[in-house]
């Protein structure tokens, strides 16, 4: 089975998973205490009013019919109307999702770019001072909550030193005119970079620490493999062994972990967005929950589920790309 076939199969397998996510989200919301009608109408509405609203939103129909309708609408990118914002849920998500994705992307980039070299150096200098330092840093990173790191970063860099902004995130795609003192796209990007720095560190440290630990142990394992010894026996230099013979194999556990970390990163994004007052998906979902905005909660949860499923598929596909045995074993 080739990689193309594997890719298609893997994507098709995601369909039932997404259906499952949708069903669980929908029925959980359904089972939650509280009646959307009473929220919409305020205290003590008349029975006739309530009935009219029920009929208008189709809430008088059986739950499975409503679920099927919801699914059909969802495929058409219609996730209903937000009760709180009084706009379509999809419009709200389209506005907020890119912000969160930007935050996730920048923190993962930061994590990978620091963790991989740190892990490799740590493995190569095993039990030497560099290794100890990087291990302690990694351990601290794993055990420190991201919101605490966020608060500390704000106190130090935004409040005491006053070198980096802590609020009013500027997005890289913001119109040039809307950003203070920016004359060109480059200025906007620079400002966005400065604004992103603290949230990225706050969210990325945990990922970075966990990835460093995995990279180190996986690199150590690969460096002890027979094929690495063989390469050495054939005169391959230590640098080439690291760069070529060991590197690719050592990234497999890292890729697995990256996929899994997407969940914790999404959770972390909720906290980070709150700490840095960023208007992303995380704050949206909190607003939705606090205001019992049923459609918005279901919609945002569904989108998070979707993001996660996409993340897992990307993980699996990169796995297949890095390790030729994956597509082969599937075919067995």
């Amino acid at each position: 089975m080739g990689r193309a076939q594997y890719t298609i199969r893997r994507i098709l397998q995601a369909v039932p998973v997404l259906l499952g996510v949708a069903a669980i989200t929908y029925f959980l919301m359904e089972a939650m205490p509280g009646d959307p009608v009473s929220i919409m109408l305020g205290p003590s509405p008349s029975a006739a009013q309530a009935e009219a609203i029920r009929a208008k939103y189709g809430l008088n129909r059986p739950v499975w019919v409503r679920f099927l309708n919801y699914l059909i609408d969802a495929v058409r990118l219609d996730l209903g109307q937000s009760i709180y914002y009084k706009v379509p849920v999809t419009r709200k998500i389209a506005e907020r999702l890119p912000v969160t994705l930007l935050l996730l992307a920048s923190s993962f980039t930061f994590a990978i770019l620091t963790a991989v070299p740190l892990g490799i150096i740590s493995a190569k200098r095993r039990n030497k001072p560099t290794d100890h330092v990087s291990r302690v840093v990694a351990l601290l990173g794993v055990s420190t909550p991201s919101f605490w790191i966020g608060l500390m970063l704000i106190i130090v860099f935004a409040y005491r030193l006053d070198v980096l902004p802590a609020t009013n995130l500027i997005l890289p795609w913001a119109p040039v005119g809307s950003v203070d003192g920016a004359d060109s796209r480059v200025d906007v990007l620079a400002a966005a970079g400065r604004h992103l720095l603290l949230p990225t560190l706050s969210l990325g440290t945990l990922q970075m620490a966990a990835l460093t630990r995995i990279e180190r142990s996986s690199m150590l394992e690969v460096l002890g493999q027979e094929y690495v010894k063989l390469a050495r026996a054939y005169g391959v230099s230590e640098f080439t062994i690291l760069r070529k013979h060991a590197f690719r194999n050592a990234q497999l556990p890292l890729i697995t972990l990256l996929g899994l970390q997407l969940t914790s990163a999404i959770g972390g994004a909720v906290l980070t967005e709150t700490v840095f007052s960023i208007n992303g998906m995380g704050r949206l979902i909190i607003t939705a929950i606090n205001n019992q905005d049923f459609a918005l909660v279901t919609g945002t949860t569904l989108v998070f589920g979707f993001v996660f499923v996409v993340g897992v598929i990307v993980t699996d596909l990169s796995y297949a790309y890095v390790d030729p045995r994956v597509t082969f074993e599937e075919a067995e």
């Binding site: 027979e226 026996a233 391959v236 690719r248």
Partner: protein, 398 residues
């Protein structure tokens, strides 16, 4: 060949592993030579130090292992030369090649190695052809395209069907025997003068092993490559080796031409090894295993290291460490098939023909009073198994 310098000379090589339990004397003063185009066997049980000896030659021993003494010379170049400094610390001598020189001049180019486990020796994420090609490019002065051509030719030569197609396949698409062929192709394709084969057929089943041995025999003749063949299998030794070094607990205890070793076996250990393998030309009721297990190399037994398991052991064996030398005349009381020639003379004659002189480390062949020494009561470790072996011997006589 007799007068000229041998291709590889290993002298008093000692490699130790510094573990928490103590110092493991894995290789403890091993000396042997390999002539050009010669196939030299390194035989012994698991843990005898064969693989460590083989890897020490190429300085591939990894932490916590370390070469602590001895010299290895190859084509007049010093691969290993350990000296003791004024305060007893170990030093690499000036003559010893640098790590860089080892990498660029020796590994792969001059000496190639084939590892024991074909399933683990190829990198799973690269194509088989790519891996062979990489090593050729690195060790021979050829372009990438030429290297690919050489790789495909060599894969064909070692008996891989459809080498052009299989060149682009991954190791997991190859069987164990095929992977072993790839490793052999890798070694040969670099055109080294010496190949160290570290139990290359141990992981294979017997039919495949037979094919591989035939293949090596043919290729060895064709390319005139010298081999150090590490194995625990006397059958393999008989099939392909020119001369043999039998190792026990880090020491070479008998060294001889393959014919001498099999027909004029001197050391009780070698004899026991030979008795413990099935032979089609002899019918026996049961095979005769060597009693007990090899002791730990952390605390090797005093005197002769084999005395704890040796059927011929006497008091003197526990006290005197035998010298590795030609067996002395008349000393071989229980010796088999001595044709009357003085062994020391025979050894000198052998050397003059360029054959391996017959050397043995056993006090039976030394004038240290073996004949008058008390027979050794079997020690606790060997007693049970020794008793069993005797019982079996008794049953067979009836």
């Amino acid at each position: 060949m007799s007068q000229s310098e041998p291709l590889l000379r290993v002298e008093n090589l000692k490699t130790q592993f510094f573990t928490e339990e103590g110092t493991v004397r894995a290789v403890d003063g091993v000396s042997f030579e390999v002539g050009e185009g010669e196939l030299v066997g390194l035989v012994g049980e698991s843990g005898a130090g064969k693989s460590v000896a083989a890897q020490s030659i190429m300085r591939l021993v990894e932490e916590p292992g370390r070469i602590v003494d001895g010299t290895v010379t190859y084509k007049g170049r010093t691969l290993v030369d350990i000296e003791r400094g004024p305060d007893g610390d170990l030093r690499e001598s000036e003559a010893m090649l640098s790590r860089r020189e080892m990498r660029t001049d020796i590994r792969g180019t001059e000496i190639a190695i084939i590892f024991q486990d074909p399933m683990e020796s190829l990198n799973p994420v690269f194509t088989v052809g790519g891996q062979v090609r990489e090593f050729i490019e690195l060790n021979r002065d050829v372009s990438g395209a030429e290297a690919e051509e050489i790789a495909i030719d060599m894969l064909r030569e070692v008996g891989i069907p459809e080498p052009v197609k299989r060149y682009d396949e991954y190791p997991h698409q190859f069987s164990g025997g095929m992977r072993q062929r790839v490793l052999i192709a890798m070694a040969l394709a670099c055109e080294p003068s010496l190949i160290i084969a570290d139990e290359p057929t141990t992981a294979l089943d017997v039919t495949v092993e037979g094919q591989i041995l035939d293949l090596v025999d043919d290729l060895q003749e064709k390319y005139d490559t010298a081999f150090v063949w590490v194995t625990h299998d006397m059958g393999v030794v008989a099939e392909i080796c020119d001369s043999v070094n039998v190792m026990y607990l880090g020491e070479v205890i008998e060294q001889a031409d393959v014919d001498d070793l099999f027909h004029d076996t001197k050391h009780p250990y070698t004899r026991a090894l030979l008795r413990s393998i099935p032979r089609p030309d002899r019918t026996v009721e049961s095979l005769d295993p060597i009693g007990g297990v090899m002791p730990e190399a952390i605390n090797p037994p005093s005197g002769c290291r084999f005395h704890t398991r040796c059927p011929d052991a006497r008091e003197v064996c526990r006290e005197v460490h035998p010298t590795h030398a030609p067996p002395e005349e008349g000393a071989d009381a229980a010796g088999a098939g001595n044709d009357g020639a003085r062994p020391a003379d025979a050894a000198r004659a052998a050397e003059a023909d360029g054959r391996q002189p017959h050397l043995v480390s056993c006090v039976k062949y030394e004038s240290v009073g073996y004949e008058h020494s008390e027979s050794l009561e079997a020690e606790a470790t060997g007693a049970f198994a020794g008793g069993l072996a005797e019982m079996r011997g008794g049953e067979r006589d009836e």
